[in-house]
């Protein structure tokens, strides 16, 4: 192995990969939420449909889509490698253990939370991304773009979907509450001048982003 692969296959290096991809995925969440806020416009979904048509066919977005998929893959792959290693590091567990006395629940259950998010991601892609990207949607009458909006209205009439989406956003919030500030620590970015701000910002970011996403299925279920 050369120095580069050695660096990023060490435990410290793999966490750096987790951290960088994690923060990149956080930036994706912001863009995704801002785009989705157009669902709240009272225009029968016109603005949202134009936006989603653009996202499905623009070349730059196509390219960023590949980067995004790679971000997810590296994040998930390193999580699996590290989790296996961490389990092997303690083959015999304690008969009596009280980790709640020294650490938060979210920090100890990032893998579980991540798995919930992964399952959600598959459901979510299947619901909206696959039909929007690969066809299967009806076109808006007299327009040259598809009607993703009507698909969303339909999906969120189903209380099971609404429940899956809201629960997953709670899992995402807990994942981010630990993950956001942890990512900065993993990069060694720690200073008494700005670390307290990063920690507070991380909590606010996690809650606001996830509230924003969770409000969409709830809005469609109760008000549309």
């Amino acid at each position: 192995m050369n120095w580069f692969t050695k660096t990023f296959s060490s435990t410290v290096g793999r966490k750096i990969v987790m951290s960088v991809t994690g923060l990149f995925l956080c930036s994706f969440l912001v863009v995704h939420l801002i785009g989705n806020l157009q669902l709240f416009r009272n225009d029968g979904g016109e603005a949202f449909n134009i936006y989603s048509d653009f996202m499905a066919h623009n070349g730059i977005i196509r390219f960023m889509e590949i980067i995004l998929v790679l971000g997810f893959l590296f994040h998930i792959y390193d999580a699996l490698v590290l989790t296996r290693r961490n389990k092997a590091a303690r083959p015999v567990s304690y008969a009596n253990s009280h980790p709640e006395e020294n650490s938060t629940w979210a920090s100890r259950n990032m893998g579980l939370l991540g798995t919930v998010i992964l399952v959600f991601l598959i459901v979510h892609l299947w619901n909206f991304f696959v039909p929007a990207r690969f066809g299967g949607l009806e076109a808006v009458p007299d327009k040259d773009y598809d009607n993703l909006y009507s698909e969303i209205v339909l999906a969120f009439k189903n209380p099971i979907y609404v429940a899956i989406y809201v629960i997953s956003m709670i899992a995402l919030a807990y994942h981010l509450i630990h993950g956001f500030q942890s990512a900065f620590q993993t990069l060694g970015l720690d200073h008494k001048k700005y670390t307290p701000f990063i920690q507070k910002f991380g909590v606010a970011f996690s809650i606001l982003i996830c509230l924003g996403f969770a409000s969409i299925p709830l809005y469609f279920f109760f008000f549309v």
Partner: protein
């Protein structure tokens, strides 16, 4: 005080172990936890049974030999305390106390509650030193070190290498120990010469020993008997990145 102890008993490295229950009577609240164990062991010896093996040395909280995972916490329920400095007044008459060895693949159980912590020694040998002769005493003002740096380096140097951080961590990660050893030397002028090679080699050895990765749960720092801070772990990471990006080692 009368207590019920549930203690991990294991004959040797290769034997399977199990939790065994022992009643102990007449314990004074002024005894240390290890003195309470001594009372139990004297009782076992009188009965002709094998006494419980546990590590201890100075019994003053400075040597790092004592360990024990007591009631689900390394060094017991009190913060900033080694097991030898934990007193029985923190328990109640009639309590049941579970006592287990540190659990980590890198810390195999020797016997009962004694684990082999030589993995820490090997990490130290990989770079936790300064290879210059001390020579004569330099003038006190010849090497200026800012007070804040001196304080931080000293705080990191208080690590007694007991392994509570590994025991507390859900991943059995040794990051707090390794980072204390790395940052203590990296901050001081005497340690600068080997700064890059040190962090590279110590992290590599840490991985070879089979410790887990750090999830930033903070459990290590919360349970550390001498209060080593998570800041050291973050310093290790920037040291590591800097070294990997700029060192001469391919």
């Amino acid at each position: 005080m009368d207590l019920t102890l549930k203690v991990w008993r294991q004959k040797d490295k290769n034997s399977p172990g199990q939790m065994v229950t022992y009643p102990v009577k007449g314990i004074s609240p002024d005894m240390s936890f290890l003195e309470m164990m001594d009372v139990l062991n004297e009782d076992l010896l009188r009965k002709g049974e094998d006494p419980i093996a546990f590590d201890h040395d100075c019994r003053e909280g400075i040597c790092g030999m004592c360990s024990l995972y007591i009631n689900g916490r390394p060094h017991g329920p009190e913060r900033g305390t080694t097991t030898c400095q934990l007193h029985m007044r923190h328990f109640k008459d009639g309590d049941t106390i579970t006592i287990e060895p540190w659990r980590a693949a890198a810390f195999p159980v020797h016997k009962d509650l004694v684990v082999d912590r030589s993995a820490f020694e090997r990490i130290q040998q990989a770079g936790g030193y300064i290879s210059v002769n001390t020579g004569g005493v330099p003038d006190a003002n010849a090497i200026p070190i800012p007070k804040s740096i001196a304080d931080k380096a000293f705080d990191a140097a208080t690590c007694i290498g007991c392994g509570a951080c590994v025991a507390a961590c859900k991943n059995a990660s040794a990051m707090l120990f390794v980072s204390a050893k790395v940052s203590q030397l990296a901050m001081l002028p005497q340690g600068k010469a080997e700064r890059k090679t040190r962090v590279e080699n110590m992290v590599a050895q840490m991985d070879i020993e089979g410790f887990g990765a750090c999830s930033n749960t903070g459990a290590c720092a919360a349970e550390c008997p001498v209060g080593i801070s998570m800041e050291n772990i973050n310093m290790l990471r920037s040291e590591y990145l800097y070294a990997k990006a700029t060192s001469e080692n391919i």
